[in-house]
């Protein structure tokens, strides 16, 4: 009886420990799961982190979408960072190029990383960037300026309820942070 009990205990304990270890792993599995869900469902304003290829699609001349550009800089990065134009009116399917301008105001070489976010979040999946400075890290020497290109098109499948898309960039200081660029991370996946 006592031996049976010990065996039964051991078996149950192994299951429970396996469950605990599994849930520890699940906690980490939530990280890629979260990214995949956000990207697939186009929620949370996350746009794709790698360039999408542009296959010419029918340009929907009947519809005009206002695309607004915003740029913010984290307080620990002494840079100036602005969109060339604040607002563009584009047709879905049309390939558009615009620029952002960055200037390092400090006397040191600094590395910045721009992180995009699209609002409303439901529109993020329809905002395709074929070229974006946000795919790479930006390294600016002291007082240097840079013109940062962005080429994008809006997917014609964009829901009718959306007439304005706001693309907002936040520029982070990643000097000495040892981060690989977002695009390399995407490639590693």
């Amino acid at each position: 009886m006592a031996k049976n009990q010990a065996n039964a205990n051991r078996k149950l304990i192994s299951w429970l420990i396996a469950a605990a270890v599994g849930m520890f792993g699940f906690g980490f599995a939530l990280v890629p799961l979260y990214d995949v869900l956000c990207e697939q469902l186009g929620i949370n304003g996350k746009t794709q982190s790698t360039a999408s290829s542009y296959e010419p699609v029918a340009i929907d001349k009947n519809r005009t979408i206002t695309v607004e550009f915003m740029a913010q800089v984290q307080s620990d990065l002494p840079w100036e960072f602005k969109p060339e134009v604040k607002r563009l009116r584009v047709h879905p399917g049309e390939l558009v190029r615009t620029n952002f301008n960055a200037k390092n105001l400090s006397m040191n070489e600094l590395v910045g990383q721009a992180i995009p976010s699209v609002s409303p979040g439901q529109g993020a999946a329809y905002f395709n960037k074929t070229e974006c400075f946000c795919f790479n890290q930006q390294r600016l020497t002291a007082k240097a300026t840079a013109e940062l290109p962005l080429i994008f098109y809006v997917d014609p499948d964009l829901p009718d309820s959306i007439t304005t898309l706001t693309l907002s960039y936040t520029l982070y200081n990643i000097t000495d942070r040892g981060y690989v660029s977002v695009v390399e991370q995407g490639a590693a996946k």
Partner: protein, 534 residues
């Protein structure tokens, strides 16, 4: 739940005489003990010490908030107080108190001689003091202790956190290990050590609720461990789980944290339901109404608890369909909870009720926990949550469910089982004084917070606009009174341990359960031969 007991107390005494080794003496007894009753006692004392420690921090908070402006402490220290108060109360006071009760009661309730894994039991208790020593010591370090709220949202806990954050992380790791070991022990004990004839649907509800709680602990404490590990590596090792600059996402922190955090709040209330389900029938002198619906309701709450985490994050900019999903799931929890409250009230209905201290606390629990549940329902409504979010309304809500919910039920349980633990009756008059002081002051303390929150006072802020001054003074006075009232509880417990009217094996005439077949105080070794259960 009719467990009719064959063993007479005399028979119990007989088999107790077979064991001549009683409790060893001195400090070594407590360090090396594998006895479930000793470990239960250790847990309960530890949790009471932590309750007073966290309470002292609450006093600092309420003293600072007595007047607008900055009086006593710096804002950074104020933030450390709110953070560590929360951590100490959640992981140091409420959870160990329940584990202590589980240790004391589960073996006696299911007719087992001890917990299934006594050595692990010792280990899971004794790592706890170290966890809290690490956490509390960080308050005295340069740069201070954790100041980012008990929810340690990134980037507050990563980019902007003090240097001592690693200590916070390691202390949470140790607390998590302790909880998981405790939970494994509870599950194995309940599954494998029930006396013959103690079938699933004869288990006392305290055992049922703890079994379900233990599964919740095993499911979510590892997720918490993972979360703090990510915070650790983000802060010290250059990963970017939560840092947008490196491709991470701070909102993801909240998702992972609340995936742990919401089941955690049920971990802190389900055992309460078990305690109340023992006390209400005992003092109503009726069987518990709807035993099996109680079991199913508990299980439903546990399952639903995994589907509602994002109601803590309505304002993060979720898509509308997600907000609706989490809103409806959250409101669904009111159904099984309502079943429970209904069953307790139906148990009391036409019972011959007497109002000894445990029953007073139990009735107060039912009323005040329900108030906390209603404010929870209000918070569950997405559009109004945009107004209530991060205000004192939230503070009022979770203190109603945790203080007048979890803590009141622990006190009710302590009064109820103290005669069994100590062999002496507690001082009923002092107990009632403790109850009335507590129940009045706790409402003076927390009820006006609802209005502060509705008027827009944000939580976790050391200063406030002057129009909130009057209500904050009332709240602070209630806070001081509630804090002092708990010293009466300490006096009652010490007095009861030192002596008092001898308790019979079953001091409450309506009480049911195997623990009452044992003499009071419960012998050091009990149920070495399993009792017979019909």
């Amino acid at each position: 739940m009719s467990t009719i007991i064959q063993d007479s107390p005399a028979a119990q005494d007989d088999h107790h005489d077979d064991h001549h080794h009683g409790a060893p003496k001195g400090i070594m007894r407590w360090l090396f003990t594998t006895n479930h009753k000793d470990i239960g006692t250790l847990y309960l004392w530890f949790s009471f010490i932590m309750f007073l420690t966290g309470g002292a921090m609450a006093m600092v908070i309420r003293a600072e908030l007595f007047q607008p402006g900055l009086q006593l402490v710096e804002p950074n220290f104020f933030n450390q107080m709110t953070t560590v108060h929360g951590l100490v109360m959640v992981f140091g006071a409420v959870m160990p108190a329940f584990t202590g009760l589980a240790n004391w009661l589960i073996p006696m309730m299911i007719g087992a001689p001890d917990m299934a894994l006594p050595r692990m039991n010792n280990w899971s208790f004794w790592i706890l003091p170290f966890a809290f020593a690490i956490l509390l010591s960080s308050l005295f370090m340069e740069g201070g202790g954790p100041n980012f709220g008990w929810t340690f949202y990134a980037p507050l806990s990563t980019t902007y956190s003090p240097d001592s954050t690693a200590l916070f992380v390691f202390s949470v790791h140790i607390m998590g290990m302790s909880s998981i070991m405790g939970a494994i022990n509870v599950v194995v004990t309940i599954v494998n050590m029930r006396a013959p004839g103690m079938t699933w649907m004869k288990l006392p509800l305290f055992v049922w609720t703890w079994l379900i709680t233990a599964f919740l602990l095993i499911a979510v404490m590892p997720v918490l461990a993972g979360t703090v590990t990510m915070v650790l590596t983000d802060k010290y090792f250059g990963t970017s789980f939560f840092d947008a600059a490196g491709g991470g996402d701070p909102v993801m922190f909240q998702h992972i944290f609340w995936f742990f955090g919401h089941p955690e709040v049920y971990i802190m209330i389900l055992p309460s339901f078990g305690i109340i389900s023992a006390i209400v029938p005992a003092f109503s002198r009726k069987r518990l109404f709807g035993y099996s619906s109680m079991v199913y309701a508990t299980a439903s709450i546990a399952i639903l608890s995994f589907l509602v985490w994002a109601h803590h994050m309505f304002t993060t900019g979720m898509p509308v369909f997600a907000e609706l999903f989490f809103m409806y799931c959250t409101m669904l929890i009111a159904v099984p909870t309502g079943v429970k409250v209904f069953n307790w009230v139906a148990t009391m209905w036409r019972g011959s009720i007497s109002f000894e201290t445990p029953m007073l606390f139990a009735v107060a629990f039912i009323i005040l926990f329900t108030i906390g549940g209603f404010s929870g329902l209000m918070l569950a409504i997405t559009p109004v949550d945009f107004q209530y979010h991060d205000t004192y309304f939230v503070v009022a809500h979770f203190h109603y469910v945790l203080v007048t919910g979890a803590i009141f039920s622990i006190m009710a349980g302590a009064y109820y089982w103290l005669p069994k633990w100590t062999g002496n009756m507690y001082d009923e008059k002092l107990g009632r004084i403790h109850f009335w002081c507590s129940v009045i002051s706790v409402n003076v303390l927390f009820f006006p917070m609802h209005f502060l929150g509705l008027a827009g006072m944000p939580r976790r802020i050391p200063d406030y606009a002057i129009q909130f001054a009057d209500v904050n003074q009332i709240v602070s006075i209630g806070g001081f009174a509630f804090g002092l009232s708990q010293l009466i509880f300490l006096a009652v417990v010490i007095k009861c341990i030192r002596g008092g009217e001898k308790a019979s094996a079953k001091p409450w005439d309506g009480a049911e359960g195997l623990e009452w077949t044992l003499p009071s105080p419960a012998p050091y070794h009990s149920f070495s031969t399993p009792p017979e259960i019909k």
